[in-house]
């Protein structure tokens, strides 16, 4: 046993010397080629799946940043509003784990545009059904940065009245859904639109001109801006100030439909949620972290994309393994005579195999290191700063360290095997046949 260990130890010493010399004094361009292959394989393993996952992760991230916040409070399934919203608001104001929050009041509404130019009253009005959302513009800005979604016009001000922000999906020039519904034509900031609210039992209507009728629930607004976002809840909504919302809907209840919370730095989403649950708020509303607020089917798609990415990367891995095998096999084959001579003078086959395995280890480590530098030093920050413009999300590159390390381990294992096998094949050949190259 000790002799075997001693023999392995000396084989390791000799194998290390041979590997070191073959790398440092061998053909430079073969080293570059193999390391290049390893780097590309690493990238294909990490980046393809990272982009596919990032496609949805970008959407999730946008949802968190632009809509749900870190923790999202919404109505219970059998309720139309968050019970005791005022009490929840007071508590949130007092909690140090909450940086800020925004309360939203929502109702279904119809927006009609271009009605002043309408001449043919037998034709359908140019109108769309929307979610009208009453907000405190300052708090909404603080939590979701709504103004960053503006593509035209300006943000609402808290102290003004009669203005509305329209989601871009309802405007023909921005809409991708004009085959599904008839969007509003040619609406620009400064134009007037009529907003009609249903289902709130309103008994009045007014517009900026002062006209009002007791039987109507319609109000005229001036379009202040158009918001465009890949988060549907933003681009499929119309925003007005909370006070305008109340005037429009006649809703005097203080109970809101949504509260989006931005947590203070240093706290986990789950912790913030647990604190809110501990106050008993889960009996009054549905409390979810941003991740929980994502529909399950989207999370399933994310997992599917991850598997798909790994499978595509796996093909790259197989191609790479075959390439490494061929390169090392040819390398070993051309050195067959020297392998034979080494065996002839008493160098063990194990030492020669170790030399090739160590070379493979070197190639995979350097290739992966370069790959990791490219991923974490270049691709992740650059794509985060300039997300890939996919139709339904701003894709980022997701390269979490643990899955990346697992992929590296797979690459490492496959490469070492691909390096060992050809060496083993050559070492096992007859010593004299190797020396005489026959």
């Amino acid at each position: 046993m000790f002799r075997k260990f001693k023999k392995f130890q000396t084989s390791l010493v000799v194998g290390t010397l041979l590997a070191k010399r073959q790398i440092t004094r061998g053909n430079f361009w073969i080293n570059v080629l193999i390391i290049g292959i390893m780097t590309l394989t690493f990238l294909s393993l990490v980046v393809i799946s990272g982009i596919l996952v990032g496609l949805l992760e970008g959407s999730f991230q946008a949802n968190r940043e632009r809509y749900s916040g870190d923790v999202f409070i919404s109505t219970l399934a059998d309720e139309s509003s968050i019970q005791s919203t005022g009490m929840i608001q007071s508590t949130l104001e007092s909690l140090p784990i909450v940086q800020d929050f925004t309360v939203r009041y929502k109702s279904g509404a119809t927006i009609e545009a271009n009605y002043r130019e309408r001449r043919d009253f037998s034709a359908l009005p140019n109108s769309v059904g929307v979610n009208i959302v009453g907000i405190d513009p300052e708090r909404e800005e603080s939590v979701t940065g709504l103004s960053e979604s503006l593509v035209e016009g300006q943000m609402l001000e808290s102290d003004e009245s009669g203005y509305i922000l329209l989601g871009s999906t309802f405007i023909r020039r921005y809409s991708n859904f004009s085959d599904l519904f008839e969007p509003l034509d040619e609406v620009y900031p400064g134009d007037r639109v009529k907003v009609s609210v249903t289902g709130k039992g309103l008994t009045f209507s007014s517009d900026l001109s002062g006209d009002s009728t007791a039987s109507s629930n319609t109000q005229e607004f001036i379009v202040k801006g158009i918001v465009k976002s890949k988060v549907d809840e933003v681009s499929l909504a119309a925003f007005v100030t909370e006070s305008d919302y109340r005037r429009l809907t006649g809703d005097t209840s203080l109970n809101a439909q949504e509260i989006a919370i931005k947590k203070a730095d240093g706290y986990e989403d789950q912790y913030v949620k647990q604190v809110l649950v501990s106050y008993g708020f889960s009996n009054l509303a549905k409390i979810q972290t941003a991740a929980e607020a994502i529909p399950k089917f989207l999370d399933d798609i994310k997992q599917t994309f991850s598997i798909l990415g790994t499978a595509i990367g796996g093909i790259g891995l197989v191609v790479s393994a075959i390439t490494i095998f061929i390169v090392i096999y040819i390398n070993a084959l051309t050195r067959r005579k020297f392998i034979g001579i080494l065996k002839g003078i008493g160098i063990s086959g194990t030492a020669i195999e170790i030399a090739y395995v160590l070379q493979s280890v070197f190639y995979v480590l350097i290739g992966s290191l370069i790959g990791a530098l490219i991923v974490y030093g270049l691709l992740v920050p650059v794509i985060a700063a300039n997300p890939i413009d996919f139709p339904f999300s701003d894709g980022i590159l997701v390269a979490d360290p643990l899955p990346t390390f697992n992929r590296f381990l797979i690459l490492f294992f496959v490469t070492v095997i691909a390096g060992y096998l050809p060496a083993r094949l050559i070492v096992k050949k007859n010593t004299l046949d190797s020396i005489l190259q026959r």
């Binding site: 084989s11 440092t24 004094r25 020297f338 002839g344 003078i345 008493g346 063990s348």
Partner: protein
């Protein structure tokens, strides 16, 4: 005392209809400390004999005892180990590892024996010095002349003091001056008691040999033993 004993050695290449019998029941004995030359025409089986008795190849039949060990009974790993500990080789084309410099080529068998690198280097330098190459220790094979490469090869072969040194046409690729230097080196080793078995075509390099074995068609045709001068 015989350090190599060969009885009825047969080596056949190929099989069936294309079978070629290279060694045909060959017998010989080589004593410890002898400098033996094996000669013969091309195809006589000189190199084949050397490969069988130096454990680089496996005989088809017969018995080969080297340093008291029946080498046919050894498995591949044991044969490699035996070569490392008991035998040294000088090949026709030097057979140095191109990525290793002279000293690294010389010490690699010592490292394989488990000798620490510092001690191995010390011994390697002594071997190179003995062959007049101590100034070229850090040169790689492509930075050495053919004669120098062959002397590095000799340094590698003798560095672990092998019982037997095998040389397969060590001067075949060298000019006359380099050849003379290599033969001189072998002669000096022999004078120190080294057993040497050398395959050669050239009669002039056998003058210092104790025994010259002539092969014809895979058998010993003549064994010429040099008369040692009376002391």
């Amino acid at each position: 005392m015989a350090i190599i004993s060969v009885k009825n050695l047969i080596k056949t290449y190929g099989n069936g209809e294309v079978e070629t019998k290279v060694l045909r029941g060959l017998n010989l004995e080589i004593n410890s400390g002898e400098f033996v030359a094996i000669m013969g025409k091309s195809g006589a089986g000189k190199s084949t004999l050397l490969y069988q008795i130096s454990l680089l190849d496996r005989p088809t039949d017969g018995q080969v005892i080297v340093d008291g060990v029946d080498i046919l009974a050894l498995d591949e790993d044991e044969r490699t180990d035996f070569r490392l500990k008991h035998l040294g080789y000088i090949f026709q084309d030097y057979a140095l590892v191109p990525e290793l410099n002279a000293i690294e080529n010389v010490i690699i068998p010592l490292l394989m024996e488990g000798i620490p690198e510092d001690e191995a280097k010390k011994r390697g330098m002594e071997s190179l010095k003995e062959l007049g190459l101590d100034g070229k220790a850090n040169n790689r094979p492509n930075q050495l002349s053919g004669g120098e490469q062959q002397r590095v090869s000799i340094a590698r072969a003798i560095v672990q003091n092998p019982q037997i040194l095998f040389a397969d046409e060590p001067t075949a690729n060298l000019d006359s001056m380099s050849s003379a230097a290599v033969i001189e080196s072998l002669k000096r080793l022999h004078e120190k008691g080294q057993t040497i078995v050398m395959v050669t075509h050239e009669e002039e390099y056998t003058v210092d040999c104790d025994k010259v074995i002539y092969l014809i068609d895979g058998q010993v045709a003549e064994e010429r033993i040099k008369q040692k001068p009376l002391k």
